[in-house]
């Protein structure tokens, strides 16, 4: 249904507010110099969640054929998996 595809203004505003809070969290972790496996996992999780909101709600793929959700969310999973492998490879043994 056309109106459902793009959600309601209230939902969009709520999601925008949480995206901003998540951005401030990422920025705060950067300012505090958070490092190590835990910090990387937290930053990746925040980024992944933000990306999922953009994909599912802002791009309206929540209501698209499942293939498009799989391709876009799958892209994010793949990218973060590759980044995680590279960062683990670079950590002191």
């Amino acid at each position: 249904m056309s109106s459902d595809v793009h959600g309601t203004p209230r939902r969009a505003t709520l999601l925008w507010a949480t995206l901003i809070v998540a951005t401030l969290l990422t920025w705060g972790m950067g300012v505090l110099g958070a490092t190590g496996k835990g910090a990387i996992a937290a930053l990746a999780a925040i980024s992944f969640w933000k990306g999922a909101v953009i994909i599912l709600d802002f791009m309206a793929l929540r209501h698209a054929p499942a293939l498009w959700r799989m391709l876009t969310l799958g892209w994010m999973v793949l990218v973060w998996a590759v980044i995680a492998i590279a960062y683990i490879k670079g950590m002191p043994q």
Partner: protein, 200 residues
């Protein structure tokens, strides 16, 4: 501009199952763009794995505040684009145009912040050849910068269309297609920002 209650939709919408918002061609283009950025991100991460001290030291010198401000600007522009699409599907052309203008302003803000960042980098003699980190920092962010510029051109075209009342139920393809491209530009930045500016 705040408008949390919208009038009823003028014409009954299509209720036949899942629907991909926007032109199918833009979604193939978006997939190609995501793959290109994905390869870039992987190359950054694996190059860093062999130059960790250099990457961490030069990353620490980046303006993280500018990066965070730009994230807020892009997310807010995306939100304004969503509101514009929601207004269009209720045949509210003028509010739709105003939301798009607000999104254009945020996109312009992103470009201005980035130009200040580049000016500061060039003042410190940072160039593509000054180090592997700077090569990635400049090329990745500039590649994205060019996408924001294209996104701005598309938003201006959408704004023009909205002012002429071109978008309404049953005539949503143009605005949904442009919106999908803009959100892709935002989506890529949501990985680029933590990767290049924060994670170490």
């Amino acid at each position: 501009m705040e408008q949390d209650t919208l009038p009823a939709i003028a014409t009954p919408p299509d209720t036949t199952g899942p629907r991909l918002a926007g032109d199918l061609a833009i979604w193939f283009f978006i997939l190609a763009e995501l793959l290109a950025f994905g390869v870039f991100f992987a190359a950054y991460a694996f190059t860093r794995a062999n130059n960790i001290e250099l990457f961490d030291a030069e990353q620490a010198a980046l303006n993280r505040h500018a990066g965070a401000l730009n994230t807020v600007l892009l997310l807010t522009a995306s939100y304004f684009v969503v509101r514009a699409v929601q207004a269009a599907e209720h045949s509210l052309s003028q509010p739709c145009a105003r939301w798009l203008l607000a999104a254009i302003a945020c996109g312009a803000g992103f470009l201005v912040v980035k130009m200040f960042e580049y000016a500061a980098a060039f003042e410190h003699n940072i160039s593509l050849s000054s180090s592997p980190f700077h090569m990635f920092y400049l090329s990745l962010t500039f590649f994205h910068f060019m996408h924001v510029i294209l996104g701005m051109v598309i938003l201006v075209a959408m704004w023009n269309g909205a002012r002429q009342g071109r978008y309404r139920p049953g005539e949503m393809n143009g605005i949904e297609t442009g919106a999908a491209y803009w959100h892709m530009v935002d989506l890529v930045w949501l990985i680029l920002f933590p990767l290049v500016y924060v994670i170490h």
